[in-house]
């Protein structure tokens, strides 16, 4: 009963957030009628997720078979939730997927692409003018910070690879890798050639 209460609370919170994104609910509606089961192996618990145009429904039990079942320990589930590159985690040895994995990816995409319209939510409390003022005064520092972080990263990369020569530049490294690949291929060809020659010199030797 406690778990049901916790899930009910979580469901309300998530659905409230989903309603802030203008595209999330229509995208979730396309998944309606499908059942996703998350089976956590360590610690052992199960979660069923059903999506529809009103949001997500979370359940600790569901009397019907799931369309997609994800089985993994909590650590993998957590990295799946936070990582951008989900495919890498999904291909891990501890993760097991049965059924329609596209369903799971669609749900993950919707949750990852959430672009919350905070201004709308704030405008319900402060009115449109207040929300606009607050929004723009918050937006410009955030944008400035994001731009600065981006250019700092670029400058640092340039400095390390071009100026101080502490690191190898990406293009340079790629060229070396290509050379190595070529050398490996040449070596393979040479090996094959030697083998063929050896076979010529000693034709009786069994393969």
């Amino acid at each position: 009963m406690l778990r049901a209460a916790l899930l009910a609370g979580a469901e309300r919170g998530i659905n409230r957030i989903l309603r802030l994104d203008p595209t999330a609910l229509p995208r979730l509606a396309r998944l309606s009628g499908r059942i996703i089961e998350i089976d956590c192996t360590a610690p052992a618990w199960r979660l069923f997720i059903l999506a529809d145009d009103e949001g997500l429904r979370l359940a600790s039990d569901w009397g019907a078979d799931a369309d997609c079942r994800l089985r993994a320990p909590a650590s993998s589930l957590l990295s799946l939730a936070v990582s951008r590159n989900k495919t890498a985690v999904l291909h891990g040895p501890e993760v097991e997927i049965n059924g329609d994995s596209g369903l799971l990816m669609n749900l993950a995409e919707v949750l990852q692409d959430l672009e919350l319209d905070w201004e709308y939510e704030i405008s319900r409390w402060l009115g449109p003018v207040g929300a606009q003022l607050l929004g723009s005064s918050l937006r410009s520092p955030v944008e400035w910070a994001r731009d600065s972080a981006g250019s700092l990263r670029q400058d640092l990369a340039d400095y390390l690879s071009e100026e101080s020569r502490m690191l190898v530049g990406q293009a340079e490294a790629q060229a070396r890798f290509d050379e190595l690949d070529d050398m490996k291929l040449a070596l393979d060809r040479l090996e094959a050639r030697i083998e063929r020659l050896a076979l010529h010199l000693n034709p009786e030797r069994p393969e």
């Binding site: 569901w62 009397g63 019907a64």
Partner: protein
């Protein structure tokens, strides 16, 4: 065709709370109770159970295993809590029938659902659970939440639900039951016989209806009895889950 219950000259009686009333009058009396409380039914449910009834119903939905395209019958659906959820789950290709014997409750439920935009896949039917007006093998899921207690002939109602279910279909009975812990049971008795009628008096100005509620809960068959009733009717794999210390039990049976 003779019904043994009606073979005697004197009309057989049945319980209405702790009182005995002629069978023909029980439905009438239950109807009076619900006509009286219909308008404030949801508010009273929240107050009486401290909101926990929402969790009981949530669990019922989880165990129903309803899916897209299913046909669901919500008997004694009252103000439509379960129907609303089922309507979401079965989608446009499915169908939910909200049935209640009481016109007042059905009207409150219909208005509430329409106000919330639940429409299209929901039908409202005033029907007696003992004589369900549906074809055989029609529904995937039948639920009766806090309704079986008020039915005059429970065996007939269970048999009728079995008839309308498809083979493999599930019946879910959510109903008050017997607390499993002695001490808890005492506290629960004190609550339901003194506090409950008082709350009823304050909110709906009708203490008697809530006294009936408390009494009818005590007269309702306990977990094992209801389980065997379902098995006798022909359900298979009957199981029950106690919730909130057995105050409420959810029985589930599958039609073979």
């Amino acid at each position: 065709m003779t019904d043994p219950r009606k073979a005697h000259d004197a009309e057989p009686t049945t319980h209405f709370g702790y009182k005995n009333v002629p069978e023909s009058q029980k439905a009438q009396k239950v109807a009076e109770v619900f006509h009286s409380v219909a308008a404030k039914y949801d508010l009273m449910n929240d107050l009486m159970s401290g909101g926990v009834h929402r969790l009981w119903k949530r669990f019922t939905i989880e165990l129903s295993g309803a899916r897209h395209g299913n046909r669901v019958l919500d008997i004694a659906g009252g103000t439509g809590d379960l129907t609303r959820q089922f309507s979401r789950i079965v989608g446009h290709t499915g169908e939910v029938v909200l049935a209640d014997i009481n016109a007042s409750m059905l009207k409150v439920g219909r208005d509430k659902l329409l106000d919330k935009g639940v429409a299209g896949n929901v039908r409202f039917v005033q029907a007696d659970a003992e004589k369900l007006p549906f074809p055989d093998n029609y529904f995937d899921v039948v639920t009766i939440a806090f309704g079986l207690r008020n039915v005059t002939h429970k065996e007939d109602a269970i048999a009728s639900m079995l008839r309308v279910l498809k083979p493999g279909g599930r019946l879910l009975v959510l109903e008050f039951s017997k607390p499993t812990n002695q001490l808890f049971s005492k506290a629960y008795d004190a609550y339901s016989f003194s506090l409950l009628p008082m709350m009823g008096k304050l909110i709906t100005n009708d203490a008697d209806s809530y006294r009936y509620l408390a009494e009818s809960i005590r007269m309702h068959p306990d977990q094992e009895t209801l389980k065997s009733m379902m098995e006798t009717a022909g359900f298979e794999r009957v199981s029950y889950h106690n919730m909130t210390g057995g105050i409420v039990a959810l029985h589930r049976g599958i039609k073979p």
